[in-house]
Symmetry: C2
Subunit: 309 residues, 2 copies
């Protein structure tokens, strides 16, 4: 095997009550990546289309993640990475995670899979560290494992794949303003009240229960975040309005995707998702900011091999 | 039907990572209560054996809870409550919750069950308020619903019954010193770091996942509390040692039961529970404080009718 072409999906992290621990994988939205084995050792990023991102392996999350894998598992081969980016950097739907996860998944595959996808999370997270200034695994985990994932701990790495109720659909609206994860992190307080923390872990526990028991009402009641959202909402134009119209249109919940500016909603079924998407669209159209809306089933498979040679 | 005799079980709240939201129900440990319908309106506590507790309905949790129910659902009858207390007040295994839950369960039963057990939680919680100075439902919920319960919210009341892995066994050691819940609350800080809160909700989410998936290793990894335990541990003689010997003896986890002084451990199977119990016993024997050890399967049924006339 000399090369592999991948679909590396976008993902939604945090999911309201699961700040820094929860994420889920999207379906039609994502990048294509091609990884090629080469006789020349080391990692090279040979081509990036779709966006203006650095080819320097030390400056690109895919390069950093790939090097972390090769450092742990030295190879006689080198690898070339080609990325067709369709997820915009800074959009809040895991652009850097898709590249980080894709690089390590592709190289691992070409090496004969010395690592499981669970084990690849740690390497992919090294790329995330470059992107956001802090190591977090809540986007790379759903990309590598599919579905909903819960990061119990990153040191040692302990990630659990959660079940996905079959009718759950995600709606994403991406207002085309750039919001750096590092800025969205800087706005957060370092402490929270015990009272609000208790509320948050009650909601997260309930959400996990709702995912296991296909209880859409419980999922809906649990999608609450009074710790992070009040701060980050200020960075997103018309967030309150987007949330209000989504809930009025029947969404189970609505919140900030990752660190924003994308906003996610979860719905029961595609018909409701279309209504929620339309309601969000109307808010953004009035505002005059460029935007995109994605409607996606939860991608239970995660990252996918498109072809190999 | 004129009277009902009940077994009202003890319970463990908090369960390490689930402060104020999680609890489970014990089996052989509990009180007996008899509730009798009477032609004289109102609530009377006619007899308490086993412990020196107030008969005044305004000063006794059972009375307060019972009056809350009758206020919402006025009756032409009154009710007499008789309690044989075997759970010591201030032991940390839900003594007040057993009485509160028993009172409302018994009266509801004699009234022809106008409320579900879920709905009774709110009334029982009024009794808890008297006992601890703040309303919490993490002990009354497992008593009324059985098994493990998660209190997502108390206003509005939203309690979820979680599944119980079949081989889970609880070990309780009760050092006979009194520790008031209100004092154990006063020692807590009003704020926590965001970092430790994230760790806690990651662990609680993982514990809920472990309960649904019968994953004993995951349950074990999740039974961590770095927020409350470090403070309350100071109030419990030899807590660190009890935890150390339990874990060395193979417990899945060990922590403070409720607000203490009882310490709980969870094990896989009864044989392991006996070993853990013995290890804890040896620590307490050296210390010279009076104590009791209980070994209990998780009581999935909860409160139980023993007889009725």
């Amino acid at each position: 095997m000399k090369s592999v072409k991948l679909f590396t999906p976008a993902s939604v992290a945090n999911v309201s009550c699961g700040f820094d621990v929860l994420g889920f994988c999207l379906d039609p939205v994502g990048d294509d990546m091609t990884i090629r084995k080469s006789d020349e050792k080391g990692i090279r990023i040979t081509k990036i289309t779709g966006q203006d991102l650095p080819l320097d392996v030390h400056q690109n999350v895919a390069g950093v993640a790939a090097m972390a894998l090769l450092e742990a598992n030295p190879s006689e081969y080198g690898f070339e990475i080609e990325i067709n980016k369709r997820i915009k950097a800074g959009s809040g739907i895991g652009s850097s995670a898709a590249s980080s996860a894709g690089a390590v998944f592709g190289i691992n595959h070409l090496l004969g899979s010395p690592y499981t996808n669970h084990e690849l999370i740690d390497f992919a997270m090294q790329g995330e560290k470059l992107a956001s200034g802090s190591a977090h695994a809540d986007n790379v985990s759903p990309v590598l494992l599919g579905g909903f994932t819960l990061v119990r701990s990153i040191a040692p790495m302990d990630v659990i794949k959660l079940p996905t109720p079959k009718e759950l659909v995600a709606v994403i609206i991406h207002p085309k303003i750039e919001l750096k994860t590092s800025h969205a992190r800087a706005i957060l307080k370092k402490t929270v009240t015990l009272k609000s923390a208790i509320q948050q872990w009650g909601n997260l526990g309930a959400l996990v229960s709702g995912l296991y028991s296909d209880n859409y009402d419980l999922i809906s009641r649990s999608l609450v975040d009074e710790i992070i959202e009040p701060y980050r909402a200020m960075l997103i134009p018309e967030f309150a309005k987007l949330k209000e119209v989504s809930m009025n249109a029947g969404a189970l919940g609505c919140g900030i995707s990752g660190s924003g500016p994308s906003v996610y909603a979860l719905t029961k079924g595609f018909e409701n998702a279309e209504n929620v998407g339309q309601a969000m669209r109307e808010v953004m159209q009035k505002l005059g900011i460029d935007f995109e809306v994605h409607i996606s089933k939860i991608n239970e498979e995660g990252i996918k091999i498109l072809s190999e040679e």
